[in-house]
Protein backbone atom coordinates (compact mmCIF):
# COMPACT_ATOMS: atom_id res chain seq x y z
CA UNK A 1 0.00 0.00 0.00
CA UNK A 2 2.79 2.33 0.93
CA UNK A 3 4.49 1.43 -2.28
CA UNK A 4 1.38 2.54 -4.14
CA UNK A 5 1.73 6.04 -2.75
CA UNK A 6 5.31 6.14 -3.99
CA UNK A 7 4.00 5.04 -7.37
CA UNK A 8 1.37 7.76 -7.25
CA UNK A 9 4.06 10.34 -6.54
CA UNK A 10 6.06 9.16 -9.54
CA UNK A 11 3.04 9.10 -11.84
CA UNK A 12 1.95 12.54 -10.69
CA UNK A 13 5.25 14.20 -11.44
CA UNK A 14 5.68 12.37 -14.74
CA UNK A 15 3.33 14.43 -16.94
CA UNK A 16 5.00 17.72 -16.08
CA UNK A 17 8.45 16.37 -16.79
CA UNK A 18 7.23 14.80 -20.04
CA UNK A 19 5.61 18.03 -21.19
CA UNK A 20 8.66 20.11 -20.35
CA UNK A 21 10.90 17.65 -22.12
CA UNK A 22 8.80 17.62 -25.27
CA UNK A 23 8.55 21.40 -25.23
CA UNK A 24 12.30 21.71 -25.05
CA UNK A 25 12.90 19.05 -27.65
CA UNK A 26 10.44 20.29 -30.23
CA UNK A 27 10.35 23.96 -29.39
CA UNK A 28 13.97 24.86 -28.89
CA UNK A 29 14.88 24.02 -32.47
CA UNK A 30 12.47 26.62 -33.86
CA UNK A 31 13.44 29.24 -31.33
CA UNK A 32 15.72 32.01 -32.53
CA UNK A 33 16.00 35.76 -32.37
CA UNK A 34 13.88 35.89 -35.49
CA UNK A 35 11.08 34.26 -33.55
CA UNK A 36 10.86 37.23 -31.23
CA UNK A 37 11.26 39.93 -33.81
CA UNK A 38 9.52 38.68 -36.93
CA UNK A 39 5.88 38.75 -37.84
CA UNK A 40 3.97 35.58 -38.71
CA UNK A 41 4.70 34.57 -42.28
CA UNK A 42 2.51 32.63 -44.68
CA UNK A 43 3.10 28.91 -44.98
CA UNK A 44 6.12 28.13 -47.08
CA UNK A 45 8.00 31.27 -46.21
CA UNK A 46 10.87 30.82 -43.85
CA UNK A 47 11.58 32.84 -40.76
CA UNK A 48 8.16 33.59 -39.36
CA UNK A 49 7.92 34.72 -35.77
CA UNK A 50 5.44 35.71 -33.15
CA UNK A 51 6.50 39.24 -32.35
CA UNK A 52 2.98 40.65 -32.57
CA UNK A 53 1.61 37.87 -30.37
CA UNK A 54 4.22 38.36 -27.67
CA UNK A 55 3.67 42.11 -27.61
CA UNK A 56 -0.09 41.62 -27.67
CA UNK A 57 0.07 39.35 -24.66
CA UNK A 58 2.20 41.88 -22.78
CA UNK A 59 -0.19 44.72 -23.62
CA UNK A 60 -3.21 42.77 -22.43
CA UNK A 61 -1.42 41.69 -19.26
CA UNK A 62 -0.73 45.37 -18.60
CA UNK A 63 -4.40 46.25 -19.14
CA UNK A 64 -5.52 43.39 -16.96
CA UNK A 65 -3.20 44.48 -14.15
CA UNK A 66 -4.45 48.06 -14.40
CA UNK A 67 -7.97 46.78 -13.82
CA UNK A 68 -7.44 43.76 -11.65
CA UNK A 69 -4.75 44.89 -9.21
CA UNK A 70 -6.31 48.04 -7.72
CA UNK A 71 -9.74 46.47 -7.32
CA UNK A 72 -8.34 43.18 -6.09
CA UNK A 73 -6.00 44.74 -3.53
CA UNK A 74 -8.73 47.13 -2.39
CA UNK A 75 -11.11 44.23 -1.89
CA UNK A 76 -8.37 42.27 -0.12
CA UNK A 77 -7.80 45.18 2.26
CA UNK A 78 -11.52 45.34 2.95
CA UNK A 79 -11.74 41.61 3.65
CA UNK A 80 -8.72 41.61 5.95
CA UNK A 81 -10.18 44.41 8.07
CA UNK A 82 -13.83 43.46 8.20
CA UNK A 83 -13.15 39.83 8.91
CA UNK A 84 -16.43 38.17 9.75
CA UNK A 85 -19.20 40.55 8.88
CA UNK A 86 -21.87 38.92 6.70
CA UNK A 87 -20.88 41.08 3.74
CA UNK A 88 -17.21 40.16 4.12
CA UNK A 89 -18.06 36.47 4.34
CA UNK A 90 -20.21 36.56 1.23
CA UNK A 91 -17.58 38.53 -0.67
CA UNK A 92 -14.96 35.99 0.34
CA UNK A 93 -17.16 33.07 -0.68
CA UNK A 94 -18.10 34.66 -4.00
CA UNK A 95 -14.47 35.46 -4.73
CA UNK A 96 -13.61 31.80 -4.28
CA UNK A 97 -16.51 30.79 -6.48
CA UNK A 98 -15.42 33.26 -9.16
CA UNK A 99 -11.96 31.78 -9.01
CA UNK A 100 -13.34 28.44 -10.09
CA UNK A 101 -15.43 29.75 -12.96
CA UNK A 102 -14.38 28.49 -16.39
CA UNK A 103 -12.46 31.10 -18.32
CA UNK A 104 -14.77 30.62 -21.27
CA UNK A 105 -17.67 31.91 -19.18
CA UNK A 106 -15.65 35.06 -18.53
CA UNK A 107 -15.00 35.23 -22.24
CA UNK A 108 -18.62 35.09 -23.31
CA UNK A 109 -19.51 37.55 -20.55
CA UNK A 110 -16.92 40.02 -21.83
CA UNK A 111 -18.17 39.45 -25.37
CA UNK A 112 -21.72 40.19 -24.34
CA UNK A 113 -20.99 43.44 -22.53
CA UNK A 114 -17.94 44.78 -24.36
CA UNK A 115 -17.70 43.38 -27.86
CA UNK A 116 -21.33 43.11 -28.90
CA UNK A 117 -22.30 46.70 -28.05
CA UNK A 118 -19.11 48.05 -29.61
CA UNK A 119 -19.55 45.98 -32.75
CA UNK A 120 -15.91 44.94 -32.96
CA UNK A 121 -13.29 42.92 -31.14
CA UNK A 122 -10.63 44.82 -29.26
CA UNK A 123 -7.58 44.53 -27.09
CA UNK A 124 -9.45 46.54 -24.49
CA UNK A 125 -12.12 43.86 -24.22
CA UNK A 126 -9.45 41.19 -23.95
CA UNK A 127 -7.61 43.06 -21.24
CA UNK A 128 -10.83 43.66 -19.34
CA UNK A 129 -11.81 40.00 -19.48
CA UNK A 130 -8.39 39.02 -18.15
CA UNK A 131 -8.59 41.76 -15.52
CA UNK A 132 -11.96 40.47 -14.34
CA UNK A 133 -10.35 37.06 -13.96
CA UNK A 134 -7.56 38.56 -11.90
CA UNK A 135 -9.84 40.30 -9.41
CA UNK A 136 -10.93 37.31 -7.28
CA UNK A 137 -7.45 35.82 -7.31
CA UNK A 138 -5.72 39.00 -6.20
CA UNK A 139 -8.47 39.62 -3.62
CA UNK A 140 -7.95 36.32 -1.86
CA UNK A 141 -4.16 36.32 -1.94
CA UNK A 142 -3.97 39.94 -0.72
CA UNK A 143 -6.36 39.14 2.08
CA UNK A 144 -4.28 36.14 3.16
CA UNK A 145 -1.11 38.19 3.11
CA UNK A 146 -2.64 41.07 5.04
CA UNK A 147 -3.95 38.73 7.70
CA UNK A 148 -0.43 37.59 8.46
CA UNK A 149 0.56 41.08 9.60
CA UNK A 150 0.43 41.09 13.42
CA UNK A 151 -2.36 43.09 15.00
CA UNK A 152 0.15 44.66 17.38
CA UNK A 153 1.64 46.61 14.50
CA UNK A 154 -1.69 48.18 13.70
CA UNK A 155 -2.40 48.85 17.37
CA UNK A 156 0.99 50.51 17.83
CA UNK A 157 0.38 52.81 14.89
CA UNK A 158 -3.08 53.71 16.13
CA UNK A 159 -1.67 54.35 19.60
CA UNK A 160 0.84 56.75 18.09
CA UNK A 161 -1.98 58.79 16.64
CA UNK A 162 -2.13 57.57 13.04
CA UNK A 163 -5.61 57.78 11.57
CA UNK A 164 -7.13 54.44 10.57
CA UNK A 165 -6.61 54.90 6.88
CA UNK A 166 -2.99 55.78 7.32
CA UNK A 167 -2.37 52.80 9.58
CA UNK A 168 -3.83 50.49 7.01
CA UNK A 169 -1.93 51.91 4.10
CA UNK A 170 1.41 52.99 5.50
CA UNK A 171 1.84 50.32 8.08
CA UNK A 172 -0.17 47.18 7.36
CA UNK A 173 -0.18 47.17 3.56
CA UNK A 174 3.44 48.22 3.41
CA UNK A 175 4.43 45.33 5.64
CA UNK A 176 2.48 42.86 3.51
CA UNK A 177 3.62 44.38 0.22
CA UNK A 178 5.92 41.51 -0.69
CA UNK A 179 3.15 39.01 -0.17
CA UNK A 180 0.71 41.10 -2.15
CA UNK A 181 3.25 41.36 -4.94
CA UNK A 182 3.54 37.57 -4.89
CA UNK A 183 -0.21 37.26 -5.21
CA UNK A 184 -0.19 39.70 -8.09
CA UNK A 185 2.54 37.74 -9.87
CA UNK A 186 0.68 34.48 -9.38
CA UNK A 187 -2.43 36.05 -10.88
CA UNK A 188 -0.43 37.36 -13.84
CA UNK A 189 1.04 33.92 -14.42
CA UNK A 190 -2.45 32.50 -14.46
CA UNK A 191 -3.93 34.92 -16.97
CA UNK A 192 -0.90 35.03 -19.23
CA UNK A 193 -1.75 31.57 -20.48
CA UNK A 194 -5.48 32.01 -20.87
CA UNK A 195 -6.84 31.50 -24.35
CA UNK A 196 -10.60 31.02 -24.08
CA UNK A 197 -11.50 34.54 -22.94
CA UNK A 198 -9.39 35.99 -25.73
CA UNK A 199 -11.21 33.95 -28.38
CA UNK A 200 -14.26 36.10 -27.78
CA UNK A 201 -12.66 39.45 -27.10
CA UNK A 202 -9.31 40.09 -28.73
CA UNK A 203 -9.67 37.33 -31.32
CA UNK A 204 -6.12 37.66 -32.66
CA UNK A 205 -4.55 39.65 -35.43
CA UNK A 206 -2.09 38.54 -38.09
CA UNK A 207 -0.68 42.02 -38.39
CA UNK A 208 1.25 44.23 -36.06
CA UNK A 209 -1.23 46.14 -33.96
CA UNK A 210 -0.95 47.79 -30.61
CA UNK A 211 -4.17 49.81 -30.85
CA UNK A 212 -6.48 49.16 -27.97
CA UNK A 213 -9.67 49.31 -29.96
CA UNK A 214 -8.48 46.85 -32.58
CA UNK A 215 -8.20 43.08 -32.39
CA UNK A 216 -4.80 42.12 -31.14
CA UNK A 217 -2.67 39.01 -31.38
CA UNK A 218 -1.83 37.02 -28.29
CA UNK A 219 0.62 34.21 -27.71
CA UNK A 220 -1.91 31.56 -26.56
CA UNK A 221 -4.24 32.41 -29.46
CA UNK A 222 -1.42 32.10 -31.96
CA UNK A 223 -0.30 28.79 -30.51
CA UNK A 224 -3.84 27.47 -30.75
CA UNK A 225 -4.28 28.62 -34.35
CA UNK A 226 -0.97 27.09 -35.42
CA UNK A 227 -1.48 23.86 -33.48
CA UNK A 228 -4.75 22.99 -35.18
CA UNK A 229 -3.47 23.95 -38.61
CA UNK A 230 -2.33 21.25 -41.06
CA UNK A 231 1.13 22.69 -41.69
CA UNK A 232 4.32 21.28 -40.20
CA UNK A 233 6.13 24.64 -40.18
CA UNK A 234 3.31 26.12 -38.17
CA UNK A 235 3.36 23.18 -35.80
CA UNK A 236 7.02 23.84 -35.15
CA UNK A 237 6.20 27.51 -34.53
CA UNK A 238 3.46 26.45 -32.14
CA UNK A 239 5.94 24.41 -30.12
CA UNK A 240 8.32 27.34 -29.99
CA UNK A 241 5.53 29.65 -28.94
CA UNK A 242 4.44 27.20 -26.26
CA UNK A 243 8.02 27.06 -24.97
CA UNK A 244 8.11 30.86 -24.76
CA UNK A 245 4.72 30.95 -23.04
CA UNK A 246 5.51 28.34 -20.46
CA UNK A 247 8.92 29.92 -19.79
CA UNK A 248 7.15 33.21 -19.17
CA UNK A 249 4.66 31.57 -16.81
CA UNK A 250 7.33 29.60 -14.96
CA UNK A 251 9.58 32.65 -14.61
CA UNK A 252 6.75 34.71 -13.18
CA UNK A 253 5.82 31.87 -10.77
CA UNK A 254 9.44 31.54 -9.68
CA UNK A 255 9.70 35.30 -9.20
CA UNK A 256 6.60 35.13 -7.04
CA UNK A 257 8.17 32.49 -4.83
CA UNK A 258 11.46 34.32 -4.62
CA UNK A 259 9.80 37.54 -3.50
CA UNK A 260 8.30 35.91 -0.44
CA UNK A 261 11.35 33.78 0.25
CA UNK A 262 13.65 36.78 0.58
CA UNK A 263 11.18 38.66 2.72
CA UNK A 264 10.18 35.96 5.17
CA UNK A 265 13.11 33.62 4.93
CA UNK A 266 10.96 30.63 4.11
CA UNK A 267 8.83 29.89 1.08
CA UNK A 268 5.14 30.52 1.49
CA UNK A 269 3.35 27.65 -0.17
Amino acid sequence: MIGLTYLAAVLATLPLLLILWHLLKKGASSLSLAFFTNMPKPVGEVGGGMANAIVGTLIMIGLACAIGLPIGIGAGIYLSEKRSTPLAQSVRFLADVLNGLPSIVMGIFAWEILVRPAGHFSALAGGTALGAMMIPLVTRTSEEMLRVVPVSLREAALALGYPRWRTSLSVVVRTALAGIATGALVAVARIAGETAPLLFTAIGNQFWSTALREPIAALPLQIFAYAISPYDEWHAQAWAGALVLISMVLLISLAARLVTRSKFGAPVD
Binding site: A8, L16, H22, V97, P102, G193, A196
Partner: protein
Protein backbone atom coordinates in the same frame (compact mmCIF):
# COMPACT_ATOMS: atom_id res chain seq x y z
CA UNK B 1 -2.95 92.98 16.27
CA UNK B 2 -4.75 90.58 18.59
CA UNK B 3 -2.56 88.12 20.33
CA UNK B 4 -3.48 84.58 19.45
CA UNK B 5 -2.65 82.26 22.28
CA UNK B 6 -0.48 79.24 21.68
CA UNK B 7 -3.21 77.04 23.12
CA UNK B 8 -5.77 78.27 20.63
CA UNK B 9 -3.43 77.50 17.75
CA UNK B 10 -2.75 74.04 19.15
CA UNK B 11 -6.48 73.38 19.54
CA UNK B 12 -7.08 74.42 15.96
CA UNK B 13 -4.33 72.20 14.69
CA UNK B 14 -5.69 69.22 16.61
CA UNK B 15 -9.19 69.81 15.32
CA UNK B 16 -7.85 70.06 11.79
CA UNK B 17 -5.94 66.80 12.19
CA UNK B 18 -8.95 65.02 13.56
CA UNK B 19 -11.05 66.46 10.75
CA UNK B 20 -8.52 65.32 8.14
CA UNK B 21 -8.38 61.91 9.68
CA UNK B 22 -12.15 61.65 9.62
CA UNK B 23 -12.31 62.60 5.96
CA UNK B 24 -9.43 60.29 5.14
CA UNK B 25 -11.09 57.44 6.98
CA UNK B 26 -14.36 58.07 5.20
CA UNK B 27 -12.79 58.03 1.76
CA UNK B 28 -10.78 54.95 2.67
CA UNK B 29 -13.93 53.14 3.83
CA UNK B 30 -15.81 54.04 0.69
CA UNK B 31 -12.99 52.99 -1.63
CA UNK B 32 -12.30 49.64 -0.02
CA UNK B 33 -15.98 48.79 0.30
CA UNK B 34 -16.52 49.71 -3.34
CA UNK B 35 -13.68 47.43 -4.39
CA UNK B 36 -15.06 44.62 -2.30
CA UNK B 37 -18.53 45.07 -3.77
CA UNK B 38 -17.11 44.57 -7.26
CA UNK B 39 -16.87 40.85 -6.53
CA UNK B 40 -20.56 40.11 -5.95
CA UNK B 41 -21.41 42.68 -8.62
CA UNK B 42 -19.30 40.72 -11.09
CA UNK B 43 -21.05 37.44 -10.30
CA UNK B 44 -24.46 39.02 -10.67
CA UNK B 45 -23.42 40.82 -13.86
CA UNK B 46 -22.14 37.60 -15.40
CA UNK B 47 -25.35 35.78 -14.54
CA UNK B 48 -27.57 38.53 -15.91
CA UNK B 49 -25.55 39.10 -19.09
CA UNK B 50 -25.33 35.44 -20.01
CA UNK B 51 -28.94 34.63 -19.26
CA UNK B 52 -30.17 37.73 -21.04
CA UNK B 53 -28.21 36.75 -24.13
CA UNK B 54 -29.36 33.15 -23.85
CA UNK B 55 -33.01 34.02 -23.40
CA UNK B 56 -34.03 34.08 -27.10
CA UNK B 57 -32.74 30.54 -27.52
CA UNK B 58 -34.36 29.28 -24.33
CA UNK B 59 -37.62 30.89 -25.37
CA UNK B 60 -37.47 29.27 -28.81
CA UNK B 61 -36.34 25.72 -28.02
CA UNK B 62 -37.02 25.47 -24.32
CA UNK B 63 -35.79 22.43 -22.47
CA UNK B 64 -34.98 20.57 -25.67
CA UNK B 65 -31.60 22.22 -25.55
CA UNK B 66 -30.81 19.88 -22.71
CA UNK B 67 -32.72 16.81 -23.85
CA UNK B 68 -32.42 16.73 -27.61
CA UNK B 69 -29.40 15.32 -29.43
CA UNK B 70 -30.21 17.11 -32.66
CA UNK B 71 -27.95 20.13 -33.18
CA UNK B 72 -28.98 21.40 -36.57
CA UNK B 73 -28.19 25.07 -36.96
CA UNK B 74 -29.90 25.54 -40.33
CA UNK B 75 -33.13 24.03 -39.14
CA UNK B 76 -33.02 26.03 -35.94
CA UNK B 77 -32.70 22.97 -33.77
CA UNK B 78 -30.30 23.23 -30.86
CA UNK B 79 -30.09 20.04 -28.91
CA UNK B 80 -26.92 20.21 -26.84
CA UNK B 81 -27.34 16.90 -25.03
CA UNK B 82 -24.24 15.34 -26.67
CA UNK B 83 -22.16 18.28 -25.46
CA UNK B 84 -23.55 18.06 -21.93
CA UNK B 85 -22.96 14.32 -21.98
CA UNK B 86 -19.41 14.86 -23.18
CA UNK B 87 -18.67 17.40 -20.47
CA UNK B 88 -19.94 15.10 -17.75
CA UNK B 89 -18.30 11.93 -19.06
CA UNK B 90 -14.90 13.50 -19.73
CA UNK B 91 -14.92 15.05 -16.26
CA UNK B 92 -15.91 11.78 -14.59
CA UNK B 93 -13.18 9.90 -16.46
CA UNK B 94 -10.75 12.61 -15.40
CA UNK B 95 -11.75 12.25 -11.76
CA UNK B 96 -11.52 8.46 -11.88
CA UNK B 97 -7.94 8.76 -13.10
CA UNK B 98 -6.88 11.79 -11.06
CA UNK B 99 -8.38 11.13 -7.63
CA UNK B 100 -6.41 8.02 -6.63
CA UNK B 101 -3.22 9.59 -7.95
CA UNK B 102 -3.82 12.91 -6.23
CA UNK B 103 -4.74 11.42 -2.89
CA UNK B 104 -1.84 9.01 -3.22
CA UNK B 105 0.57 11.89 -3.77
CA UNK B 106 -0.99 13.85 -0.91
CA UNK B 107 -0.58 10.89 1.45
CA UNK B 108 2.95 10.35 0.20
CA UNK B 109 3.87 13.98 0.81
CA UNK B 110 2.24 14.25 4.20
CA UNK B 111 3.28 10.88 5.62
CA UNK B 112 6.05 9.00 3.88
CA UNK B 113 8.15 11.39 1.95
CA UNK B 114 11.63 12.18 3.24
CA UNK B 115 11.87 15.83 4.30
CA UNK B 116 14.21 16.82 1.49
CA UNK B 117 11.88 15.38 -1.16
CA UNK B 118 8.75 17.05 0.11
CA UNK B 119 9.39 20.54 -1.30
CA UNK B 120 10.50 19.53 -4.81
CA UNK B 121 7.75 16.98 -5.41
CA UNK B 122 5.10 19.29 -3.96
CA UNK B 123 6.42 22.06 -6.16
CA UNK B 124 6.38 19.90 -9.28
CA UNK B 125 2.82 18.73 -8.67
CA UNK B 126 1.63 22.27 -7.99
CA UNK B 127 3.39 23.44 -11.13
CA UNK B 128 0.99 21.31 -13.15
CA UNK B 129 -1.61 23.93 -12.35
CA UNK B 130 0.53 26.66 -13.85
CA UNK B 131 0.85 25.11 -17.30
CA UNK B 132 -1.47 26.94 -19.70
CA UNK B 133 -4.34 24.98 -21.15
CA UNK B 134 -3.25 25.54 -24.74
CA UNK B 135 0.15 24.01 -23.98
CA UNK B 136 -1.59 20.91 -22.62
CA UNK B 137 -3.62 20.83 -25.80
CA UNK B 138 -0.53 21.12 -27.98
CA UNK B 139 1.18 18.32 -26.10
CA UNK B 140 -2.04 16.36 -26.29
CA UNK B 141 -2.31 16.61 -30.07
CA UNK B 142 1.28 15.74 -30.90
CA UNK B 143 2.32 13.44 -28.08
CA UNK B 144 -0.70 11.96 -26.32
CA UNK B 145 -2.90 11.26 -29.34
CA UNK B 146 -0.31 9.28 -31.31
CA UNK B 147 0.56 7.41 -28.11
CA UNK B 148 -3.09 6.54 -27.58
CA UNK B 149 -3.72 5.66 -31.17
CA UNK B 150 -0.69 3.45 -31.62
CA UNK B 151 -0.07 1.94 -28.21
CA UNK B 152 -2.57 2.52 -25.46
CA UNK B 153 -5.86 1.98 -27.26
CA UNK B 154 -4.85 -1.26 -29.03
CA UNK B 155 -3.41 -2.40 -25.70
CA UNK B 156 -6.66 -1.72 -23.87
CA UNK B 157 -8.81 -3.16 -26.58
CA UNK B 158 -6.86 -6.24 -27.59
CA UNK B 159 -4.29 -7.16 -24.96
CA UNK B 160 -6.51 -6.48 -21.97
CA UNK B 161 -9.54 -7.64 -23.91
CA UNK B 162 -11.48 -4.65 -22.73
CA UNK B 163 -12.78 -4.36 -26.29
CA UNK B 164 -15.45 -6.85 -25.27
CA UNK B 165 -17.07 -4.18 -23.12
CA UNK B 166 -18.97 -1.36 -24.81
CA UNK B 167 -16.59 1.19 -23.31
CA UNK B 168 -13.52 0.38 -25.33
CA UNK B 169 -14.89 -0.46 -28.75
CA UNK B 170 -14.62 1.25 -32.06
CA UNK B 171 -11.75 2.39 -34.25
CA UNK B 172 -8.84 3.96 -32.42
CA UNK B 173 -8.61 7.34 -34.14
CA UNK B 174 -6.81 8.97 -31.27
CA UNK B 175 -9.00 11.99 -30.59
CA UNK B 176 -11.45 10.60 -28.12
CA UNK B 177 -13.24 10.91 -24.83
CA UNK B 178 -10.39 8.92 -23.30
CA UNK B 179 -7.82 11.45 -24.51
CA UNK B 180 -9.88 14.29 -23.08
CA UNK B 181 -10.28 12.41 -19.81
CA UNK B 182 -6.54 11.86 -19.51
CA UNK B 183 -5.66 15.49 -20.22
CA UNK B 184 -8.33 16.71 -17.81
CA UNK B 185 -7.01 14.30 -15.18
CA UNK B 186 -3.56 15.86 -15.47
CA UNK B 187 -5.10 19.32 -15.19
CA UNK B 188 -7.33 18.50 -12.22
CA UNK B 189 -4.66 16.58 -10.31
CA UNK B 190 -2.84 19.56 -8.76
CA UNK B 191 -6.08 21.01 -7.39
CA UNK B 192 -7.16 17.79 -5.72
CA UNK B 193 -3.65 17.10 -4.52
CA UNK B 194 -2.96 20.50 -3.00
CA UNK B 195 -6.20 20.67 -1.05
CA UNK B 196 -5.82 17.07 0.12
CA UNK B 197 -2.26 17.73 1.21
CA UNK B 198 -3.34 20.72 3.27
CA UNK B 199 -6.17 18.92 5.03
CA UNK B 200 -4.04 15.83 5.67
CA UNK B 201 -1.34 17.97 7.24
CA UNK B 202 -3.99 19.67 9.36
CA UNK B 203 -5.05 16.41 11.00
CA UNK B 204 -3.89 16.73 14.62
CA UNK B 205 -1.06 14.56 15.84
CA UNK B 206 -3.28 13.24 18.60
CA UNK B 207 -5.35 11.36 16.05
CA UNK B 208 -2.33 9.67 14.54
CA UNK B 209 -0.74 8.90 17.88
CA UNK B 210 -3.96 7.49 19.26
CA UNK B 211 -4.27 5.09 16.33
CA UNK B 212 -0.67 3.99 16.64
CA UNK B 213 -1.05 3.56 20.39
CA UNK B 214 -3.98 1.24 19.76
CA UNK B 215 -1.73 -0.98 17.68
CA UNK B 216 -2.49 0.16 14.14
CA UNK B 217 0.13 -0.24 11.44
CA UNK B 218 1.24 2.89 9.66
CA UNK B 219 -1.06 2.25 6.75
CA UNK B 220 -3.97 1.41 9.04
CA UNK B 221 -3.39 4.65 10.88
CA UNK B 222 -3.65 6.58 7.62
CA UNK B 223 -6.65 4.66 6.39
CA UNK B 224 -8.64 4.65 9.61
CA UNK B 225 -7.58 7.74 11.56
CA UNK B 226 -6.12 10.35 9.25
CA UNK B 227 -8.10 10.11 6.03
CA UNK B 228 -11.57 9.91 7.63
CA UNK B 229 -10.76 13.02 9.65
CA UNK B 230 -9.83 14.86 6.49
CA UNK B 231 -12.64 13.34 4.47
CA UNK B 232 -14.79 16.37 3.79
CA UNK B 233 -11.77 18.46 2.89
CA UNK B 234 -10.61 15.81 0.44
CA UNK B 235 -14.07 15.64 -1.09
CA UNK B 236 -13.96 19.42 -1.38
CA UNK B 237 -10.65 19.11 -3.20
CA UNK B 238 -12.10 16.51 -5.55
CA UNK B 239 -15.00 18.79 -6.34
CA UNK B 240 -12.59 21.64 -7.01
CA UNK B 241 -10.84 19.40 -9.50
CA UNK B 242 -14.22 18.52 -10.96
CA UNK B 243 -15.08 22.19 -11.32
CA UNK B 244 -11.86 22.77 -13.19
CA UNK B 245 -12.40 19.77 -15.45
CA UNK B 246 -15.96 20.78 -16.29
CA UNK B 247 -15.00 24.19 -17.58
CA UNK B 248 -11.77 23.40 -19.36
CA UNK B 249 -11.89 24.50 -22.97
CA UNK B 250 -8.72 24.63 -25.00
CA UNK B 251 -6.99 21.40 -24.11
CA UNK B 252 -10.21 19.46 -24.53
CA UNK B 253 -11.07 21.09 -27.88
CA UNK B 254 -7.75 19.99 -29.22
CA UNK B 255 -8.01 16.33 -28.30
CA UNK B 256 -11.63 15.33 -28.09
CA UNK B 257 -12.39 15.07 -31.79
CA UNK B 258 -15.29 17.50 -31.82
CA UNK B 259 -18.11 15.27 -32.89
CA UNK B 260 -21.63 15.86 -31.60
CA UNK B 261 -22.60 12.32 -30.80
CA UNK B 262 -23.39 10.35 -27.69
CA UNK B 263 -21.46 7.12 -27.58
CA UNK B 264 -20.74 4.66 -24.83
CA UNK B 265 -17.22 3.98 -26.00
CA UNK B 266 -14.33 5.96 -24.62
CA UNK B 267 -12.53 5.54 -27.91
CA UNK B 268 -15.04 7.58 -29.85
CA UNK B 269 -14.73 11.33 -30.38
CA UNK B 270 -17.10 13.56 -28.52
CA UNK B 271 -17.82 17.16 -27.66
CA UNK B 272 -18.02 19.23 -24.52
CA UNK B 273 -20.08 22.32 -23.81
CA UNK B 274 -17.01 24.52 -23.56
CA UNK B 275 -15.52 23.27 -26.85
CA UNK B 276 -18.87 23.63 -28.57
CA UNK B 277 -18.99 27.28 -27.64
CA UNK B 278 -15.34 27.87 -28.50
CA UNK B 279 -15.55 26.17 -31.88
CA UNK B 280 -18.86 27.48 -33.15
CA UNK B 281 -18.75 31.02 -31.82
CA UNK B 282 -16.54 32.38 -34.56
CA UNK B 283 -18.73 30.90 -37.25
CA UNK B 284 -22.11 31.56 -35.70
CA UNK B 285 -24.39 32.51 -38.53
CA UNK B 286 -27.54 33.83 -36.96
CA UNK B 287 -28.51 35.63 -33.80
CA UNK B 288 -30.41 32.53 -32.74
CA UNK B 289 -27.28 30.44 -33.17
CA UNK B 290 -25.32 32.87 -31.01
CA UNK B 291 -28.08 32.86 -28.46
CA UNK B 292 -28.10 29.06 -28.41
CA UNK B 293 -24.37 29.04 -27.76
CA UNK B 294 -24.89 31.53 -24.94
CA UNK B 295 -27.58 29.19 -23.61
CA UNK B 296 -25.04 26.36 -23.54
CA UNK B 297 -22.73 28.79 -21.76
CA UNK B 298 -25.47 29.55 -19.26
CA UNK B 299 -25.92 25.84 -18.50
CA UNK B 300 -22.16 25.48 -18.06
CA UNK B 301 -22.12 28.54 -15.82
CA UNK B 302 -24.82 27.13 -13.57
CA UNK B 303 -23.23 23.68 -13.33
CA UNK B 304 -19.78 25.01 -12.49
CA UNK B 305 -21.24 27.58 -10.10
CA UNK B 306 -22.98 24.85 -8.11
CA UNK B 307 -19.98 22.50 -8.14
CA UNK B 308 -17.59 25.25 -7.07
CA UNK B 309 -19.93 26.58 -4.38
CA UNK B 310 -20.30 23.12 -2.85
CA UNK B 311 -16.57 22.49 -3.12
CA UNK B 312 -15.65 25.77 -1.45
CA UNK B 313 -18.21 25.21 1.26
CA UNK B 314 -16.75 21.78 2.03
CA UNK B 315 -13.18 23.06 2.14
CA UNK B 316 -14.30 26.04 4.22
CA UNK B 317 -15.95 23.70 6.74
CA UNK B 318 -12.71 21.82 7.25
CA UNK B 319 -10.63 24.96 7.55
CA UNK B 320 -12.97 26.22 10.24
CA UNK B 321 -12.00 23.21 12.27
CA UNK B 322 -15.09 21.10 12.10
CA UNK B 323 -14.52 17.37 12.15
CA UNK B 324 -16.04 15.74 9.07
Amino acid sequence: MTAISAEAVQKDRRRLRVHEAAIGDRIYEILTTACALVVPALVIAIAIAIFAAAWPAFAKVGLSIVTSTDWDVRAGKFGAAPAIFGTLVSSVVALIIATPLAIGVAIFLSEFSPKWLRQPIGFLVDLLAAVPSVVYGLWGIFVLLPLLREQVMPFLRDTLHLGATPFFTGPAYGPSMLAAGIILAIMALPYISSVSREVLLAVPRSQREAALALGATRWEMIRDAVVPYAKSGIIGGIMLGLGRALGETMAVTMVIGNRLEISASLFSPGYTMASLIANQFGEATSDLHLSALMAVGAILFVITLIVNAVARWLVWQVSRGRVS
